[in-house]
């Protein structure tokens, strides 16, 4: 053993010596300028952080008054990214800007870089190599709302007695992510349940470039039905508070199925038998504790007697219509395929009505799946590979904003261990539910990127 350690030490020293031999000279760097642009024009805002990263190396600089950042970096392939929020005129809405561009810095022996090329079509080829001009970083503008989807419990759990899955215990939580009371009375809930499998003949919208053709047309498909709160029912959500909406089965499931949840205390329930959603297993009569005014109403324009949303590929979104939703769903012009009761029927919800959306994929494979929401609503996706085990899609905490709230410091609980996978956990490390129970106010992440904003939680938050 001693002999082995001796040899190991010698080898380690030798490696260190060799490593140091070339380490004295710092690598040559080259200046790189990046200019933020929006719709092709310079976005001249000062103080916006832009990062340039390559592998593990990352540099971050804030923009000057012209919206330009400058880096000195060695040869390599880099990605310049930025993500920031700005308040909108509408106080309930925040604008979110995301941008990303790939930059290649090369050196062919000369002291000055010979070329700086970028892969963005906005770059004029004649500019290639002209380092005096900054490289554009196009921004994608989207908006966030104070009303967000905090959680979607849709994957079911395991019915151990019958050795099969139990899936009729779904719910969604809508959260007020702001410091003021929000009125959600007009808010509607829908799903963009078009097939997101590449090559699926049922999807007529795959533009082939990773986009759906309806992105450019400014609408988002709502599948099968749209749910809204009853007229006259005031749905107010207190600051940093939530409402639990039972998607099906507002009863206590856990009595019979111990792995399931108790939804008898749900605040609202999607229950509208008269509209045609009357499948007995999906729609048991809601608990008596839920007033009938809290039953959400719907208009069914798809197939079947239940709002059957896929357990792994769900794409829920919430929106606030600019006109009366009951009239909107009556107009044939707002539909794709409404005539004939088929699975491909969609209500075309204007994208600028959408408050929040989550794109959920069953696997992280860009070659077989594609996104269903316009980048104006959401980019990225959260992967939900394991269902039927009681796990749930849960929102990450905005650490910076949460910690900034006065009085939170003593109430926040860290070392979150509730994620299904340690590799894909909430990076904030804050245990939101424990903190809320402790009296903390939580601000959830809302970057309009499901990959950043969500993770898979082991158990439902209301369990």
């Amino acid at each position: 053993m001693k002999k082995f350690l001796t040899i190991l030490s010698v080898v380690a020293l030798a490696i260190a010596a060799v490593s140091c031999e070339k380490g004295g000279k710092a690598p040559k760097t080259y200046p790189v300028k990046v200019q933020l642009t929006l719709f092709g024009s310079p976005f001249a805002e000062e103080g916006i952080p832009v990062s340039l990263s390559s592998g593990s190396a990352s540099y971050s600089v804030e923009t000057d008054a012209e919206g330009i950042v400058s880096f000195d970096v060695p040869v390599g392939i880099y990605t310049a990214t930025t993500s920031f929020k700005k308040d909108d005129e509408d106080e309930n809405i925040k604008r979110v800007y995301n941008g990303s561009v790939s930059i290649t810095v090369t050196d062919q022996g000369a002291e000055m870089p010979k070329t700086i090329s970028v892969d963005d079509p906005e770059i004029d080829p004649e500019d290639d190599g002209d380092i005096s001009k900054p490289i554009p970083l196009p921004l994608e503008a989207s908006q966030t709302s104070n009303l967000i989807i905090k959680e979607l419990y849709n994957g079911g759990c395991w019915n151990e007695r019958e050795n099969k899955q139990y899936i009729t215990d779904k719910y969604i939580i809508i959260y007020n992510n702001s410091a003021k009371e929000m009125d959600a009375s007009k808010m509607c809930i829908a799903m963009a349940q078009i097939s997101n499998t590449v090559g699926n003949a049922a999807n007529d919208y795959n533009a082939g470039d990773g986009n759906q053709s309806y992105f450019a047309e400014g609408w988002t498909p709502a599948s099968y039905a749209v749910w809204w709160f009853q007229e006259g029912t005031s749905v107010k959500i207190a600051p940093y508070s939530q409402i639990v909406v039972s998607i099906c089965g507002a009863v206590d499931h856990s009595v019979t199925i111990p792995n399931s949840v108790d939804l008898s205390g749900a605040d609202y329930v999607m229950y509208d038998k008269e509209a045609g959603f009357n499948a007995a297993a999906w729609y048991p009569a809601p608990s008596s504790t839920i007033p009938s005014s809290h039953y959400m109403k719907t208009s069914v324009f798809g197939m079947g007697t239940s709002w059957a949303i896929p357990m792994q590929n769900a794409a829920p979104f919430i929106f606030e219509p600019k006109s009366k939703i009951q009239d909107f769903v009556l107009d044939e012009g707002n539909f794709v395929n409404k005539a004939s009761n088929k699975s491909g029927n969609f209500c075309k919800i204007p994208t600028d009505w959408v408050l929040d959306a989550v794109d959920i994929w069953k696997d992280d494979n860009n070659t077989t799946s594609f996104h269903r929401f316009s980048p104006a609503i959401n980019t990225g996706h959260v992967v939900f590979a394991v269902n039927k085990n009681g796990s749930t899609i849960y929102r990450n905490v905005d650490k910076e904003a949460t910690e900034a709230i006065e009085g939170n410091a003593s109430k926040l609980v860290y070392n979150y261990a509730g994620a299904f996978s340690e590799e894909d956990t909430d990076p904030s490390g804050i245990d939101a539910e424990a903190s809320i129970a402790n009296g903390a106010k939580i601000v959830y992440m809302d970057t309009n990127n499901s990959a950043n904003d969500f993770h898979v939680r082991k158990v439902a938050s209301i369990k």
Binding site: N159, R161, E162, N163, K164, T168, D169, A201, A202, D204, G249, A250, V251, D252, H253, V255, T256, I257, S260, S264, Y271, K273, E274, A275, G276, N278, A280, A281, P284, A285, P286, S287, S288, I290, P291, S292, S293, Y295, S299, V300, T305, L330, D331, E332, F335, V336, N337, K338, A339, S340, N341, K342, G344
Partner: protein, 1010 residues
């Protein structure tokens, strides 16, 4: 007897034809009296040992007379008319002997040496054999072929017919015969195929197992419970069969079981998912003072077929015992008029069972019995009188037990409502109380186990009497057959039941045994005339059958149907004497006939259906209990005065030829099915009180103290206080007007066409390598086009604005789909290479199966070709119709109903003008609702022609006899394990050929004979 008023004229025409036939027969009969009679006697011996072959059957085909050899191998047929006739001698275990002889004097010492049947002989056939003497297409698959390909289910022999495709040899799926048809086609082809086992007609006329209230297809009998090792041969009549066969519309399959004296025979067979063992022995009962005591044949078989070859649990099992007895009496009073008696009894215990499957959820089990008991007798009395040649009486009974038992685990997070009521009314759910079955009950929340049973015991009995008269007038041979047949179908089962009523799911008692017996009395007459013409002969067969179906206690009463059939065959050049010529044999034939298939109980007595409307649901209380109320309405129409019996018109023409030893057989056929059975629906208008859950708003009684009651007549729900402290209160309701479908037995109004050509070419044997090559194939076309106006209403929908039940009914020419029919065309070809080396008793065969053309297309048109669907330019706008044919290129299409009616006004209105007016007038609600009646294609390629690229598979079989006591067979299906890609021209996509060719599979059988 008159069937129906419009059929009166047809009936008169038939009667005239019958009279002409009878007159013709009378003339023949008169002329025959002058013919001379001789005795034909001799001895049958074993060619190898020289020992007598007792129980060998000698048949004089011209006169239909016969004899059975006695213990010394001797036989004698008296009063044989002077003639040139074919004599056939056969016995189980021997190769049949057949020769044409001239009987112009007494022949008293005719010697026939029968060769034992084994592979040391030339001429073993392992494919389907064409019956060259038949006037219609008939093929026989004998034991050698069955052994060689190791058939486990007799339905699998379809793969041996021209162009046939090998099917996977599993018994866990139910299989039926589909002759000149595909199982997925309209017109109930398998239901129309008659299957007989030793004269016992297998029928599911009385079975409810196949019954379905909404599925229009009625399936035929399954053949899984026929012991394959006990089958001696299978005869398949695909052409126009004799009128002797009634209650069929798509061909006849006759399964002949082993009979007679045989050595001990033991079969052991194994393949990855099937294990089989059998033993059989045919033995003589010796002789007594009155002659031979007959011969008994006993057979036992056990077969187990597992659903998954990696799991031995879920399996179909078949345990079968058969006993047959045959004897002939030719002494004493039977000396000149011998009588032959055959008796057979078969019992089968089996079915599918998931017992002991550790992969299944504990506590669940499904058993589907397939027990059967079959018995038959046959008396054939050779009278040889001038006015009657023989008299045959057959009787059979076939009893099946297709009962099932299913144990399930169930759960519900709140109490679960179940319905058992059969009477109309409003009922509130109540908990089960011992012995009291209420119309609507509930099972408390939680988990429970329940076992449901269904007793299904169909029985078919049959008794027939047939008289035959064979005569000669000079060289002209005439055979007259007159027969009568009586059959009954009934079911002794009690249908669905359970011992665990407290946890039973929704079901209604329907006792099968209360359904009346269906009787059918058939009479027929058939004349078979053989006229020598030059070197050849003409064979004319004309027959007429009349079936009278009686269902006592049913509104259908007595129904009569006629089935005329004609066959013509002209043997231009008979084989005899032309062995060295180029054209060694040539004959042509043509047939025409009609056949009637009696309805099954599932058509005559459709299972009652009920419309159960949930009219009230209370909120769920703290005990997880929600009380529901239902409006129950019986919904079946049990009698359709317009129901007709399904009929098939068959036409066939064929040619058989032998060119320099290459035998060619070609048949062209055209079958047209009329009045195919189906279940149709119509819409009734119902009004009921619906109590929404919001009516509980403001009810002061705490949820846990509420007791609900409902008025059976009015549907008014009342809530009262369990504690009595608060007053009862009637809940407010909404009146719903709703369309409700009712189902009834019906007929397709349009004919269904099937036509095609089948061919078999057996090339001259390549003697140096002992090899035969057969090329067979079929070109098959099918077309159906629904042309009657059918109603459809999407009753689960609600109206757009007021959210009331959908009130519109669409009236569609050809049904409510964008298409109303389809056509298919298939070209299949099989190449079979058989090498038989008698000296080493080895037979090898390789079969290449090819699908050269597989075509289909969806149709939307009237019977005169006018297109029904229309091309639209915008997939989202059903009114964006543009010109052009739906069949040209890629198009989205829309199909409008021709008319629509409403709940309030049943008078049909034109659909399209109202739809356009609603849109143009801005009535979005009406437009949105009416638009639901339009049917739109989901894909661009719906009406494109769909051609599949060719695909192939190859099978290999080998049989080797080891001495005289053992033989081994091995087969490998799809041994190249075809995984090629098939392209569909319709979708432009590729798919694996695995779904279209048999899976790679193999099996081994060892047979011992001693």
């Amino acid at each position: 007897m008159i069937i129906f008023a419009s059929g009166k004229l047809i009936y008169v025409v038939y009667l005239r034809r019958l009279a002409i036939i009878l007159f013709f027969i009378a003339c023949v009969f008169q002329g025959e009296l002058l013919a001379q009679k001789h005795t034909f006697a001799g001895m049958v011996t074993d060619k190898d040992s020289g020992k007598p072959v007792d129980f060998a059957t000698v048949i004089i085909e011209g006169s239909g007379q016969w004899a059975v050899a006695d213990a010394e191998g001797r036989f004698s047929v008296k009063n044989v008319p002077a003639s040139k006739t074919r004599v056939t001698v056969s016995c189980l275990g021997y190769v049949s002997w057949s020769r044409e002889i001239v009987l112009d004097k007494d022949v008293l010492n005719f010697k026939v040496a029968l060769a034992p049947d084994n592979l040391s002989l030339e001429g073993a056939v392992v494919t389907a054999k064409e019956d060259g003497n038949s006037a219609t297409t008939t093929r026989t698959i004998d034991r050698t072929a069955l052994d060689h390909v190791q058939v486990m289910n007799v339905a699998d022999i379809s793969g041996l017919l021209p162009g046939g495709a090998t099917v996977d040899p599993s018994l866990t799926t139910e299989k039926q015969f589909n002759i000149r048809a595909a199982s997925t086609e309209s017109g109930n082809p398998s239901f129309g195929t008659a299957v007989e086992v030793d004269g016992v007609r297998l029928s599911n006329n009385a079975s409810f197992a196949e019954a379905s209230t909404t599925n229009s297809s009625v399936k035929g009998v399954t053949t899984n419970n026929i012991a394959s090792t006990n089958v001696e041969s299978v005869e398949v009549i695909t052409g126009v069969p004799s009128v002797e066969y009634g209650d069929m519309s798509s061909g006849v399959v006759k399964v002949n079981l082993k009979k007679g004296k045989t050595p001990w025979m033991i079969t052991l067979s194994a393949s990855p998912a099937i294990k089989q063992g059998s033993v059989s022995k045919g033995f003589s009962l010796g002789s007594g003072k009155k002659g031979a005591r007959g011969v008994m044949n006993a057979s036992l078989e056990y077969t187990q077929s597992t659903a998954n070859q990696m799991s031995p649990y879920t399996a179909y099992r078949r345990g079968q015992a058969s006993l047959s007895y045959t004897n002939s009496f030719s002494r004493g009073i039977f000396a000149s008029m011998p009588l032959r008696l055959s008796l057979g009894v078969t019992g089968n215990i089996g079915g599918k069972d998931t017992k002991a499957d550790p992969d299944a959820v504990q506590g669940t089990r499904t058993i589907a019995r397939d027990h059967a008991a079959r018995a038959n007798f046959s008396l054939n009395w050779l009278l040889s009188k001038p006015w009657i040649t023989n008299l045959e009486m057959n009787g059979s009974v076939s009893f099946s037990d297709k009962s099932s038992k299913e144990t399930t685990l169930n759960s519900s997070v709140i109490n679960k409502t179940v319905l058992h009521g059969k009477e109309e009314g409003f009922f509130i759910a109540v908990p089960y109380s011992e012995g009291e079955v209420q119309p609507v009950m509930y099972i408390p929340a939680g988990h429970w186990q329940n076992t449901m049973r269904c007793e299904d015991l169909p029985m078919t009995t049959r008794l027939s009497l047939k008289a035959g008269l064979s005569r000669y007038i000079g060289k002209l041979n005439n055979k007259l057959k007159i027969g009568a047949e009586w059959s009954t179908d009934r079911n002794f089962g009690i249908g669905a039941w359970t011992e665990e009523m407290a946890t039973a799911p929704t079901f209604r008692e329907y006792r099968y045994r209360d359904v009346p017996t269906m009787h059918n009395a058939g009479v027929y007459i058939e004349d078979n005339l053989m006229i020598p013409v030059g070197k050849g002969r003409i064979n004319l067969i004309a027959g007429l059958r009349n079936d009278n179906t009686v269902v006592r206690g049913s509104a259908y009463g007595v129904t009569s149907s006629l089935s005329p059939r004609f066959n013509f065959k002209y043997t231009i050049l008979p084989r005899q004497g032309r062995e060295r010529k180029t054209v060694r044999e040539l004959s042509v034939r043509a047939s025409w006939g009609q056949a009637v298939k009696l309805p099954s109980f599932s058509i005559l007595f459709p299972m009652p259906t009920y419309r159960d409307v949930n009219v009230f649901t209370s909120t769920t209380n703290s005990s997880n209990e929600s009380i529901e109320a239902y409006h129950i309405q019986p919904r079946s129409v049990v009698f359709n005065p317009d129901l007709k019996w399904q009929k098939n018109r068959m036409m066939e023409a064929g040619i058989e030829a032998d060119f320099a030893g290459n035998r060619i057989s070609v048949s062209a056929f055209w079958n047209r099915t009329f009045n195919a059975y189906r279940i149709s629906s119509t819409y009734d208008r119902t009004t009921y009180a619906y109590t929404p859950v919001s009516s509980l708003d403001g009810v002061p009684i705490p949820a846990d103290n509420r007791i609900f009651t409902i008025d059976r007549e009015s549907g008014i729900v009342t809530v009262s206080d369990k504690t009595g402290s608060l007053p009862s209160q009637e809940l407010s309701h909404i009146t719903y007007k709703e369309l409700a479908p009712s189902y009834f037995a019906d007929n397709e109004k349009n004919p269904i066409d099937r036509y095609g050509i089948e061919w078999v070419i057996d090339f001259t044997k390549i003697r140096p390598i002992n090899t035969d090559i057969r090329l067979d194939g079929s070109w098959y076309c099918y077309k159906t086009l629904r042309t009657d106006v059918l109603e459809y209403s999407p009753t689960t929908l609600r109206t757009s604005v007021d959210r009331m039940p959908y009130p519109y009914i669409g009236h569609y020419y050809g049904g409510d789909s964008y298409s109303n029919g389809s056509e298919t065309m298939n070209l299949r070809m099989n190449l079979t290479i058989v090498t038989h080396i008698p000296s080493i008793r080895l037979i090898l065969s390789a079969k290449l199966e090819a699908s050269l053309l597989k075509y289909s297309r969806t149709l939307s048109e009237t019977s005169d070709g006018k297109e029904l669907a229309q091309v639209i330019s915008d997939n989202n706008d059903i009114l964006s119709t543009v010109g052009g044919s739906i069949y040209d290129g890629d198009n989205f299409v829309v199909r409008y109903p021709e008319y629509y009616s409403t709940f309030d006004d049943p008078t049909p209105r034109e659909y399209l003008p109202d739809l356009i007016a609603a849109k143009e007038g801005g009535n979005l609600a009406l437009y949105s609702d009416l638009a639901q009646l339009s049917r739109k294609s989901a894909y661009l390629y719906i009406f494109k022609k769909d051609y599949y690229t060719p695909f192939f598979s190859a099978n290999f079989s080998v049989t080797k006899e080891i001495g005289k006591i053992a033989s081994i067979s091995f087969y490998a299906n799809n041994f190249f394990v075809t995984r090629s890609q098939i392209r569909s021209s319709k979708t432009g996509t590729y798919m694996s050929a695995e779904s279209y060719v048999p899976k790679f599979y193999y099996g081994l059988t060892l047979r011992l004979k001693f």
